[in-house]
């Protein structure tokens, strides 16, 4: 395991009280594996990603319990200085919006070179050469010319490649990709995903891919983890998640994905709204929207049970 997360909880103190956007989350990531992290907005996907980088919004949010083991190191025990040397080098991240991820007043070259210099200092000329190589590796045409460009002179797809180049500059073991294609055109999306897959095949990179797009999950991920109201409700191999989801929420999600091979008609939607994190029901958080829920579901939070090899669900009444 290159990344092992156990019982991770994040707490945010706000005006509405204390909430847990990440609640007792456990998972692990094998070398070269892509784990899809799926869920609705506010389910805790992005907070989980930021917690792994130890870049939660300060001072409101903090990690209250759990362990994060990255390449054998317990990074929650690290000092800020140690953590800075881990960021970008061992674990890195691509953010959702390439429009705003690059510093508007820095040249592209300077932004890539800074990332390189932080983890492998060297003479400027050598760094420059490496930066150009990196941009070329990410499929950016005429990289020498692009080095002198400012972010606003590039297209969205090119910008996201630059962000990718920065994130991958120091050959991290783990990449957290937080909806990196959501803001891109569909064709550009496909190109970017192919690029990620090629890079993964070449380097053995492990990817935690945060998304709400099941199409992307199907194309890219080996395993899927579904979150709801800060908790992991189901984990399993991508094939099982699509063909035999165990948790009623996963089933509802998969059923609401538009497909080309079924007749037209209204897409099934999940009734109701996700619960507010400051007023979670006492039992299973999904129970109020769940067609299978019984009295026990409303009273007591369900345990996580293994429903098939490699597949588990936090549910009293999993569909085996």
């Amino acid at each position: 395991m290159v990344l092992d997360v156990s019982n991770l909880s994040v707490q945010i103190r706000g005006k509405a009280g204390v909430i847990h956007p990440v609640d007792d989350v456990s998972f692990s990531l094998r070398p070269g594996e892509t784990l899809g992290l799926v869920g609705e907005s506010g389910s805790g996907k992005s907070m989980t990603g930021l917690a792994l980088m130890r870049l939660l919004p300060q001072p409101a949010a903090r990690i209250t319990q759990g362990r994060i083991t990255l390449a054998g190191q317990d990074i929650l025990a690290f000092s800020d200085r140690q953590m800075r040397s881990v960021r970008g080098r061992d674990i890195s991240m691509i953010l959702q919006d390439p429009q705003t991820s690059l510093n508007p007043v820095w040249r592209i070259g300077a932004q890539v070179i800074e990332a390189l210099r932080l983890h492998a200092p060297g003479p400027s000329t050598a760094l420059r050469v490496r930066a150009v190589e990196l941009l070329r590796w990410l499929g950016i045409p005429a990289p020498e010319a692009r080095m002198r460009a400012f972010p606003h002179e590039l297209s969205g797809g090119m910008r996201q490649r630059v962000v990718g180049a920065i994130a991958l500059s120091s050959a991290p073991k783990v990449l957290i990709a937080d909806e990196p294609t959501t803001a891109l055109d569909v064709t550009i999306q496909a190109q970017f995903l192919r690029l990620l897959r090629d890079i993964q095949a070449e380097t053995g990179l492990s990817i935690l891919f945060i998304t709400h797009d099941f199409g992307v999950v199907a194309r890219l991920c080996h395993r899927v983890m579904v979150m709801y109201a800060g908790r992991v409700v189901e984990t399993g191999p991508v094939r099982r998640i699509f063909s035999a989801p165990a948790h009623p929420y996963t089933r509802a999600l998969v059923a609401s994905v538009p497909r080309l091979d079924t007749p037209e008609g209204r897409l099934p939607a999940i009734p109701g709204q996700p619960p507010a994190l400051w007023s979670l029901p006492s039992g299973c958080a999904f129970a109020p929207r769940c067609p299978l829920a019984d009295a026990r579901c409303h009273l007591k939070a369900p345990p996580t049970v293994v429903t098939a090899p490699g597949q588990s669900a936090a549910c009293w009444r999993p569909v085996a």
């Binding site: 800075r84 991820s101 510093n103």
Partner: protein
């Protein structure tokens, strides 16, 4: 870029022209200088003679054209109060003292306000933030002349560390410079703080942290490089206010600069000197703003290319 600079230059010239009209109009609206130049018992003939002599009997528009033509050559006429000296000469004589004082005030403002605003934003909600914001509110609420008097009372009269007033070296400049700077520090601190708060929340600052950049690099090289455009915009106002602020503060401290000169000239209805002073202040204000626009383009590549 060159087109941008040229355009700004032309706009400034138009403003300058408008200012000449206002300066000319206002100074004539305050009354005739003849009243202060002749004794109370002067005869009508004496008044008419002096009016003719000074060209004050001509129609206003002709007076204006003469004024404009001369002003373009730097000639505002002879001072009425300081006999035998040209208005331009009187102003040029006092200008260096004002620029020295204003320069020091500007330096103090920037040196205090930028770090204070940045720290306040980075440590949002902590005691340091509350302290800075408290001082900023205080600084913006007190008038410069009052602060000047209090500073004299404490540091000159009470403690005897610094001179009460007058022209001299750095020791003479400290209290008046602080009096001028106080308001600017407050305004600039608040601007810097809010600009930084906005920028610190952006994705590119997050990406800088993801890279593993140090907090200093994140705050100054990534965040402040972007936030700087806001305090920079204010710099044009700042440079102007420092000059106009000098009018009151120079009087309080007896600093013989252009501000003090302006007050004296107004008291004596010395039109040529008033006009020369105001034109100089206006020119300084415009230059500062053109400079800001050019710096803008230098700081933000999007302005440069837009």
């Amino acid at each position: 870029m060159t087109r941008f600079a040229l355009l700004r230059l032309v706009q400034s010239l138009v403003s300058l022209f408008a200012i000449t009209v206002i300066v000319f109009g206002l100074s004539h609206a305050t009354g005739s200088p003849i009243d202060t130049m002749l004794p109370d018992d002067a005869t009508t003939e004496q008044i008419a003679a002096l009016s003719r002599n000074l060209g004050l009997d001509e129609p206003l528009w002709r007076q204006y054209l003469v004024f404009l033509g001369n002003a373009l050559q730097g000639d505002f006429g002879m001072s009425l109060k300081w006999r035998g000296q040209s208005a331009m000469g009187v102003v040029l004589d006092r200008l260096p003292a004002t620029l020295r004082l204003g320069g020091l005030a500007l330096l103090i403002s920037i040196a205090v306000a930028i770090p204070a605003g940045v720290v306040s934003a980075v440590r949002r909600g902590t005691w340091a933030d509350h302290l800075v914001r408290g001082f900023a509110l205080f600084g913006q609420s007190i008038p410069a002349f009052w602060l000047g008097i209090v500073l004299i009372w404490i540091f000159a009269v009470g403690l005897g560390w610094l001179p009460t007033s007058g022209h001299g070296g750095l020791a003479h400049m400290i209290l008046p410079a602080i009096s001028i700077a106080a308001f600017q520090i407050a305004a600039l601190t608040r601007l810097t703080r809010s600009a930084m708060l906005e920028v610190l929340d952006t994705e590119y600052v997050k990406l800088a942290r993801i890279k593993g950049a140090s907090e200093t690099a994140v705050v100054w090289r990534h965040a402040f490089a972007n936030a700087a455009i806001v305090p920079l915009t204010y710099f044009g106002v700042l440079a102007g206010s420092v000059l106009t602020g000098s009018i009151v503060v120079e009087t309080v401290f007896g600093w013989p600069g252009a501000g003090w000169l302006a007050i004296e000239a107004i008291r004596a209805r010395d039109f040529p000197v008033i006009q020369a002073v105001v034109m100089f202040f206006a020119l300084a204000f415009l230059l500062a703003n053109v400079l800001v626009d050019l710096l803008y383009a230098w700081v933000d590549p999007r302005v440069r290319h837009g």
